[in-house]
């Protein structure tokens, strides 16, 4: 029986395993050092905040794996010997495979800041990171002040977590406005304001210079590059993005760049070795997408795809229209299609914001053809299916605004904004 070994039990690896099991009776082994069972990484924050217990983040009950004959192995793979099709673990154990799927995800970026490895300095990615936050910042007596470095999705989540325990948070953001490499001005500024409403001390255009240690090797303070200001703190969160977690592959024959290089079939340069999820890097980026996409959904989709190939239905990884979502404190965000931070050539943005400054949409469209290119929505839920269809059918912005009601996914009885949005668009055309 063919033995499929998957390194990594995150969403990509587990999705691949489930789909391979559905289509075949191959022997499947999933290896993870991090945790015995699959859990939802995106939910770790809720454990710290007390919304859930850790076991609630596990989407399958523990019996699921045995019942579906998916072997789970805890251990750390140190070396991949592709010629012998063999994995060597840190403890010296070995494991043969017939086909190997690398799905080892990411690790937090560290940019060589002085003091970045001190006690009380950490990222937020793994289960162990969560345990460390609980130790380093259990309450506002042990942790009187926290500093977060890096203005992205994980940074704002970490800020929300710490605030839930009444810990003062200073948030250093390199950019001039939160996440404005991705979000246009309107959305980005709306989130700035929302963070301040949540008593987060937001420092824009601020870089970390260094982290200062106390006598015991624990963080004592940080210094801001631009102003030289010293902020004493007991905790530093490094959330300046993530990069592929592939150190253990460096000694192998598998070709890597920043991530494990794969073709459109998610194959590496070595036969029978595949890579999926955060750690995979497309040799050529697909459409407008980045070559490495550290996103839950793309991990899942690659898992769905690679399972087909491994089970004999060789198929290209062809993600559909881009979509994503997040939640910034109390404000939900969804995006469908492409809305870039600044409109590209021949593109225009239509931005509408509700008077409470917590709800907005931004539509990107082609100035000449009026073709709808993408939408950001904050505080209004939209139907994935409808926007996916409109993108495929290349509808115009006028069509989208006329039919926006059809795409609304807010709960029943919620206030509707379609008329106001539509009126604002017409008004803008007149004044423009």
């Amino acid at each position: 029986m063919e033995h499929i070994v998957i390194i990594g039990n995150g969403i990509a690896g587990v999705t691949a395993a489930r789909h391979i099991r559905k289509k075949s009776d191959k022997k499947i082994t999933i290896i993870s050092e991090e945790s015995e069972y699959f859990f939802s990484r995106t939910a770790l924050m809720y454990v710290y905040m007390g919304h859930m217990k850790f076991e609630h983040t596990q989407p399958y009950e523990n019996w699921f794996w045995k019942k579906n004959k998916i072997n789970l192995k805890q251990g750390f793979v140190q070396q991949v010997e592709t010629t012998l099709k063999r994995l060597i673990f840190k403890n010296g154990e070995e494991l043969q495979y017939d086909k190997l799927i690398i799905a080892t995800g990411s690790k937090p970026n560290k940019f060589g800041w002085p003091g970045q490895d001190l006690k009380g300095v950490q990222g937020l990615y793994s289960k162990q990171d969560l345990e460390n936050v609980s130790l380093n910042a259990p309450n506002n007596k042990v942790c009187k002040q926290a500093v977060i470095v890096g203005g992205g999705l994980i940074g704002i989540e970490l800020a929300e977590m710490l605030r839930s325990r009444g810990i003062p948070v200073t948030f250093l953001v390199r950019e001039s406005s939160f996440w404005n490499g991705v979000l246009p001005k309107g959305e980005s500024e709306l989130i700035n304001k929302h963070m301040i409403e949540h008593h987060i001390d937001l420092r824009l255009s601020s870089n970390l210079k260094e982290i200062i240690s106390d006598e015991s090797g624990k963080v004592k303070a940080i210094v801001i590059e631009e102003t030289g200001e010293v902020i004493s703190c007991d905790f530093v969160g490094l959330t300046a993005g993530v990069s592929p977690n592939i150190n253990f592959i460096k000694s192998s024959e598998i070709e890597i760049n920043r991530g494990v290089l794969v073709n459109r079939f998610l194959e590496t340069n070595i036969k029978d070795v595949f890579a999926i999820g955060d750690c995979a890097e497309q040799r050529e980026a697909i459409g407008e997408r980045r070559a490495i996409e550290a996103v839950w959904y793309t991990g899942r989709m690659m898992g769905e795809t690679v399972a087909q190939t491994i089970c004999g239905n060789k198929i290209e990884y062809k993600p559909g229209h881009w979509f994503n979502s997040a939640k910034f404190l109390d404000i939900e965000y969804q995006t469908y299609g492409w809305v870039f931070a600044k409109p590209r050539e021949n593109e225009a943005h239509f931005y509408w914001e509700y008077s409470n400054h917590k709800i907005c949409i931004n539509i990107n469209y082609n100035k000449t053809t009026k073709q709808f290119i993408g939408i950001n929505t904050f505080g209004i839920r939209m139907r994935h299916e409808v926007f996916d269809k409109w993108l495929t059918e290349e509808k115009t912005i006028d069509f989208v605004l006329e039919n926006l009601k059809e795409a609304n996914f807010d709960p029943e009885f919620f206030k509707k904004y379609e008329q106001e949005i539509s009126a604002a668009f017409k008004n803008q055309l007149i004044t423009a």
């Binding site: 905040m49 795809t305 994935h384 009885f413």
Partner: protein, 471 residues
């Protein structure tokens, strides 16, 4: 720290209460302490004054506390600390509260004299006596333990309903739903029945909560109740006809259009308590597949039982024998059902175990009316919870906060709509979802159940290929 630690270390200190919150809590506790002192046997002089103070303080204190807790924070989901709080994480406080509630129900059903009830209807003492003035006001009769219970029940739904509304003030579905819950309890279950009782004190007793229909109200077809309705003049006949119409016609039709939620989480009294007072315990329901299996067996067994009991009771009524093939219908059918299901299950376990098993134990495992509507909801209804394409991140908030123990995530992460007999449509899964994945809605039956394999967002050809093969 070891990799598999339970995170118990992360239990933080309690956040401090401010002055206004403390004031609210003290008021509510003062109000409650009058109730407890009376329960311990103290018969208050001036019961009108003490009862008024007690009710006002409980209501006012709760509202002050809730308002101060929620209104100073930006509106949004407020589940911080739920699993750190001993009351809501099945800790010591939770078990203590469970025991107090259970004890209260045991006394209420079987030993009302310990609550101060005088079976001769002459002179109550203690807790029941405290409620005499209010009972006299409504119907010129001193209180029974059931009047005390009904009043406290309504007070709880009202005050904790207001708390719930502050908590979910950003969510209009929850605001409208909870307003209806409170009004239903206050008017349909409490004020109207008590006033009608007072206006028709010459008529024999029959149940006057129009929405509390058979088979939830299991004694509706019992001989004494049928006779009392028949001898209850126009009002009695109206309740008899309405009771049958509600069950046979009204319920199936409305359930077809909007699901069983119209009843279970909008107007039902049991549901009303679960949604308001029980909100702090919704996360305690078990989500395992095995508990789902137990649920299906239990709820449908109870449903079949009440159908059989009622059929036999009606047989006895129309044959006028009170016997069924020589055995007493009362002793062998009505009485055991009333004791085991009516009192033990729906009362003692149903509410007493809130802090241990969650707020919907009765609704999920026992209620025959929920079972009946569940069959419509599952097989013939327009209601579903729609899953929004491929947006689910499997975080588990929806499953954790489902009071009915539905593993909502299991569907959402597969892109499947949720069509389950047990869903009461409270809408909390949709509220707590951080990615906007879930929406309760009514729509065409076609495509309501949509098994998918590869999710929206991936290659269209692959989706078609894999998803079609399933059919």
């Amino acid at each position: 720290m070891s990799k598999n630690s339970s995170f118990s270390i992360s239990n933080p200190d309690k956040l401090k209460l401010d002055t206004v919150q403390k004031l609210g809590l003290v008021l509510a506790l003062l109000g409650l302490s009058i109730i407890f002192l009376a329960w311990f046997g103290i018969t208050f002089p001036y019961p009108t004054a003490f009862l008024s103070i007690s009710i006002l303080f409980i209501f006012g204190g709760t509202v002050i506390y809730a308002r101060q807790t929620y209104i100073n924070q930006p509106a949004g989901i407020k589940n911080n600390y739920v699993w750190f709080n001993s009351l809501s994480n099945r800790g010591v406080l939770g078990w203590l509260l469970g025991m107090v509630l259970t004890l209260f129900y045991v006394l209420l059903y079987w030993f009302p004299s310990y609550l101060g009830y005088d079976a001769n209807g002459v002179a109550n003492t203690g807790l029941v006596a405290l409620f005499d003035p209010l009972s006299l006001f409504f119907k010129d009769k001193i209180a029974s333990q059931w009047f005390v219970y009904g009043t406290l029940y309504t007070l709880l739904i009202t005050s904790l309903g207001v708390k719930f509304m502050y908590k979910y003030r950003h969510n209009r579905y929850q605001l409208i739903r909870t307003t209806v819950v409170i009004i239903s309890q206050l008017l349909l279950a409490y004020l109207i029945p008590e006033i009608l009782e007072g206006l028709n004190s010459d008529l024999p007793y029959f149940a006057k909560d129009i929405k509390n229909m058979w088979p939830l109200n299991y004694y509706f077809f019992e001989p004494w109740h049928l006779d009392n309705m028949r001898n209850g003049g126009t009002l009695g006949m109206l309740y008899l006809v309405m009771g049958i119409f509600m069950f046979l016609v009204f319920t199936p039709i409305i359930t077809y259009y909007v699901g069983k939620r119209w009843y279970c989480s909008w107007v039902c009294g049991c549901g009303g308590l679960a949604e308001t007072a029980g909100d702090s315990f919704r996360q305690l329901s078990s989500k395992t597949v095995s508990s789902w299996k137990i649920e299906r067996w239990m709820i449908h067994t109870v449903m079949v039982l009440i159908f059989i009991v009622t059929a036999v009771v009606l047989y006895g009524y129309f044959t006028n024998t009170g016997e069924f093939f020589g055995i007493s219908i009362y002793s062998y059918f009505s009485k055991p059902y009333g004791f085991l299901i009516g009192a033990m299950f729906s009362g003692v376990v149903g509410v007493g175990f809130y802090p241990v098993l969650g707020s919907r134990v009765w609704c999920r495992f026992g209620c025959p009316l929920a079972g009946y509507m569940g069959l419509f909801q599952r097989f013939k209804s327009r209601f579903r919870i729609t899953t929004n394409g491929g947006q689910c991140i499997s975080c588990g908030n929806c499953s954790t906060y489902c009071e009915q123990g539905i593993d909502v995530r299991a569907y959402a992460q597969k892109g499947e709509n949720i069509v389950r007999a047990s869903c009461v449509g409270c809408g909390i899964c949709s509220a707590v979802c951080p990615r906007g994945v879930l929406k309760l809605e009514n729509g065409p039956e076609e495509g309501r159940i949509n098994p998918t394999d590869v999710l929206l967002g991936n290659d269209v050809d692959l989706m078609n290929f894999v998803n079609k093969k399933q059919d």
